[in-house]
Amino acid sequence: MSEYETHDFDVIIIGAGGAGLRAAIEARSRGLRTALVCKSLLGKAHTVMAEGGVAAALGNVYEEDNWKVHFRDTMRGGKMLNNWRMAQLHAQESPDRVRELEDWGALFDRTKDGLILQRDFGGHRFARLAHVGDRTGLELIRTLQQKAVADGIEVFMEVKVLRLLHDADGAISGLVGYWRPTGEFVVFKAKAVVMATGGVGKSWTYTSNSWESTGDGHAMALWAGADLIDMECIQFHPTGMVWPLSVRGILVTEGVRGDGGVLRDSDGKRFMFNYIPPMFAAETAETEEEGDRWYDDHTAGRRPPELLPRDEVARSINSEVKAGRGSPHGGVFLDIATRRSAEDIRRRLPSMYHQFKELAGVDITAEAMEVGPTCHYIMGGIRVDADSTATTVAGLFAAGECAGGMHGANRLGGNSLSDLLVFGRRAGGGAAEFASARQGEVSLDEGQISEAIDAAVAPFEKEGGENPYDIQHDLQSTMQSLVGIIRTGSELEEAMGKLEELEERATRISLSGGRKYNPGWNLATDLPSMLSVSRLTAQGAINRKESRGGHTRDDFPKPVAEMGAVNFVQRIPIAGQDTNGVGGTPSITSITVTPEPILVMPDDLKELFEEAN
C-alpha cells in the first residue's frame, strides 16, 4: 500500500512560470480554492530567462500600431498555420495584460512621455516590445509571483507531477506526484487542472532551456488522452552562445539585433542580405544604408534583414556555417560593438554584457559575439479551444508554451510573454468556470495512484541497470543530430527507431541513494515525458512533408499549400489501457498521427492579408 498525503482544491495549476502564475491569479480572483504546483522553487521557472520583451500593440512609440497589425505580423510569422482565433485574442488583449502588470508593480523602461517604452524585434512591423533592459522575463515573473503571494495563493514548490488522474467518466480528477526534497508522494484532488508546464528543449543537446523543460505537460496530457498539434514545429533561436562549449546554447537576446546589432560572416560581411525570402522582400531593406536609416525612423527605410523572423535567420546562419564562412567555434559573428556606444550597450543590454564577460571572457562593447542556432521553443502543443483554453479532455486546460496553435509554425520574439499573460488569464478563467459548474463528487481512483507510485519507485528495486544520465545523453544526441534544425525523411525514420530503443532501455533504469532530493531519480521520472515529446516531434516531422516555419525538410525544401491547410494531430487512442512505456506510461509506439484541417479564418480577417500584400 503506497503512502501519500492528499490535498483538495477546486483548481490546480501545474507550473509556476508566467502562464501558471497568471492562471492562478485569475482563478483565485474568482473565489476558487486555487493552488500552484511547480517542479522548482517559486520564481525560478523558465520565464525568468526571457530577455527582450513582451509584445503588445500599445502604440506608445508608433501610434500607427494596433491589434490588427500585430495579428497580421503574428500570422505571417507563423506561416499561416496559427489558430487564427488565438492570434486574434492575443493581439487584442495583450495591451491590457501588459498595463495590468504595471498596476501590480512592474517597472518597464519609459518613453520620454513617461509611458511604457517599446523596442523593435524580428517580424514585428513596429517597435512593440515592452521591456526592462534585457531582463523582461524576470520582471514579469517577479511581478506575478509577488501578486500571487499578496493574494494568498498556495504554492507547492519542488513537487514533480508524475501523472494526471481521472474519474470513471474520463474527466480529470487530480494528479499524483512527489516532493523532491523528501521523496514523499503527494496527491491533489481537483475539479479542474491547468497545464502550464512550458517547453521541451531539454531533449536536445544545445538548448536555451533549463533542466525543467522536459515536456511534462505535453506528455501528461497525451497520456490522459488529449490531442496535440504541430509538435514538429520547434523554434531554433538564431542566436545562442557557441563558445565555450559548456555554455553552448545559452540565449543571446534578439534585442541585440533590435537595438542595432548585425550578423557578419568570417569576412565581416552582412550576409543576411543574401537570404531575404519573397514573402518578406517588399518590407525588407535592400542595402545596408537603407536598413541603417530604419532604426531611427521606420518611415525612412525598410527594416534590415537581420530582423526577419527567427526561422529565416536561423536557417541563414546554418547555411553560412555549412558553406565554411562561419566563426572559429562554428557560429557566425553578432556585432553590436561597432554599431552602438559602449555606454548604450551596457545600459540597454546589461545581462548580455555580463553573460559574455563572465562566461566567455568577451567584452561585447569591443568585440563581436559568436552565435549560432539553439533549440529554444516549441510552437506545437496541447490542442486547445482559443477562448477557454479547454483541451479535448474534460477538466483539463492548457496555457503558455505547452499549448499549441497560437504561434503556428514559427513564433515571433516577444509573443511568448504576451501569450503567457493572455492565455494564462483565460486558462484560469476557463478552469474556474468548469470547476464551478462541475456536478457531483470528484473521486480519486486508488488504483491509478498506486500504479503511478509503484512505477516511480521500481528503479530502486533493480540493480546493475541503465544509468538515467546515459539515456538522457543519448536521447539528446539523437534529437540534436537527427531531428534538428534541418531534417530529412531517412534521418527522421532512424530517430523513430532509436527512440524505441531508448524507451526499452529506460524501462531498465536502476537507482540507489534514496528518494530524498535525488537528481538521478528526478531525471528517471522526467525521462518518460522526454521520450514521449521527442517521439511526437519526430513523428510529426515525418508527416509534414514540406518546409514551413520552424520545420525544415531538406528533402521537401518548399512550403506545400495542402500541407499548410492541415495540423498534424497526435494522440493515444488507447490511453488509459496501455502501460507498456516507461514508468507505466503508454508506449511511444501507441501514438497515432492524423492530418486535420486547420481552423478557417473569417473573411473580415482574411482581408487584412489581401490589403497588405
Binding site: M49, L138, V149, E154, V155, W211, P519
Partner: protein
C-alpha cells in the same frame, strides 16, 4: 564508482571536494574529474552526477545566472555555481563546494530556503496610487525613466539568497531569523518605498519587526551579489535614514500630515500585509536550526568512508 582520488589524478584533472550529507551530518567527498576548457563549477558537478554520483543533490535551473538557484559556498565564498568559471579558481588546488551555511541542509549541496519565502509574505505588498485623468486616457501610468531606475536596480534581484547567506546577523544566529528580514528583503522594501506609484509605508514595520537596526552595514551582502546591486548603499542606508526621519523628525511628520502625503500609516501598512496566507509550502521535513558548520580546513574523506547514507555507494 567511488574514487580513490590520488591514484587517478593527472595534471589535467581537477579535484572537486563536495559536501555530502543531510541534516544529521555529513562530510566532504572528493571526486577527480578531467578538466575541460571554459567550464563553470556547475558543469563539473553535472559531470560528477552523470558519471560518478547520480544521487548527488544540487539545485539548479537556468545555468545562465538568471534564476538564482545554484547558490553555494565555493572555496568558502558564497557564489553561483553557474557563474563561477573553473579557470578563475587557484590551479592545482582542490575546489571545495559546500552548501549555504545560513539555511538548514536538505541534502548535499541543497538547503531549505523556505525562511526567505516566509519573510516575503510579511512585506506589505505594492499598493499604487490612483491614476490621474490624463493617465486613464493615456491607458497607463506616467513615470519618468529616471524615477523608475532606483527601484529597477533592486528588481534585478534574482533571489539567489547569497546576501542572506553571508549576512552575519543570521549566518550563525538562528535565533535572529524570527525578527530579521535580511538584505534581500531590505532591498525589496527599499524597492517598494522608492517605487514612484506605491503608497504603503513600511518604515515602522522595518524597524519594529524586520530588524533593520540590526544591520551594521558591513557590506558583505553587496560584495557577494551576483547582480551587483548596491544593497547596503542604495537600499539599507536610505531605509535607515527614512526610518530615522519618520521617528524623530516632527516637521517631516507634520508635513506628511498636512500634505496628505500618499504614504500610509504603519498600522495600515501592517493591515495590508498578506494575512500570512500560506504562499509557499514546503514539506514537513525536520528543521534542525543551523546546518552543521562546515570547516573548510578539515581533512577530506573518501566517499566510501562517509558516515552518512548519502555517500555515493
Amino acid at each position: 564508482m567511488a574514487e580513490e582520488p590520488e591514484d587517478t589524478s593527472t595534471p589535467n584533472d581537477v579535484t572537486m571536494r563536495l559536501w555530502r550529507g543531510d541534516e544529521t551530518g555529513g562530510a566532504f567527498a572528493e571526486y577527480v574529474m578531467p578538466s575541460q576548457e571554459g567550464e563553470v563549477v556547475l558543469d563539473v558537478i553535472h559531470r560528477v552526477q552523470a558519471t560518478k554520483a547520480p544521487d548527488l543533490a544540487c539545485r539548479w535551473n537556468c545555468k545562465a545566472g538568471k534564476c538564482g538557484s545554484c547558490s553555494a559556498e565555493i572555496n568558502g565564498r558564497p557564489a553561483l555555481m553557474c557563474m563561477t568559471r573553473m579557470d578563475t579558481l587557484p590551479v592545482g588546488e582542490a575546489v571545495t563546494v559546500a552548501p549555504m551555511r545560513t539555511f538548514p541542509i536538505l541534502r548535499d549541496l541543497v538547503t531549505d530556503v523556505s525562511y526567505n519565502y516566509e519573510v516575503a509574505k510579511r512585506i506589505p505588498p505594492f499598493n499604487p496610487r490612483d491614476k490621474t485623468a490624463d493617465e486613464e486616457e493615456a491607458g497607463g501610468y506616467r513615470m519618468q525613466q529616471i524615477d523608475v531606475e532606483r527601484s529597477q536596480e533592486f528588481r534585478k534581484c534574482i533571489e539567489c539568497y547569497l546576501c542572506q547567506d553571508v549576512c552575519h546577523v543570521i549566518r550563525d544566529h538562528e535565533e535572529n531569523k524570527t525578527a530579521f528580514a535580511g538584505p534581500r528583503f531590505f532591498a525589496r522594501s527599499a524597492e517598494l518605498e522608492m517605487h514612484p506609484l506605491d503608497v504603503n509605508d513600511r518604515r515602522e514595520l522595518l524597524q519594529q519587526e524586520q530588524g533593520l537596526g540590526k544591520c551594521n552595514i558591513t557590506k558583505c551582502c553587496t560584495e557577494v551579489c551576483p547582480e551587483h546591486i548596491k544593497i547596503t548603499d542604495n537600499a539599507i542606508i536610505p531605509l535607515k535614514e527614512r526610518v530615522v526621519d519618520s521617528r524623530y523628525d516632527p516637521l517631516a511628520w507634520l508635513g506628511r500630515k498636512i500634505l496628505k502625503h500618499t504614504k500610509r500609516t504603519p498600522a495600515e501598512a501592517v493591515e495590508n500585509s498578506p494575512a500570512g496566507g500560506p504562499a509557499a509550502i514546503q514539506p514537513d521535513h525536520p528543521v534542525k536550526g543551523i546546518p552543521t558548520p562546515v570547516h573548510l580546513t578539515e581533512k577530506p574523506v573518501a566517499v566510501g568512508a562517509s558516515p552518512t547514507d548519502a555517500s555515493a555507494e
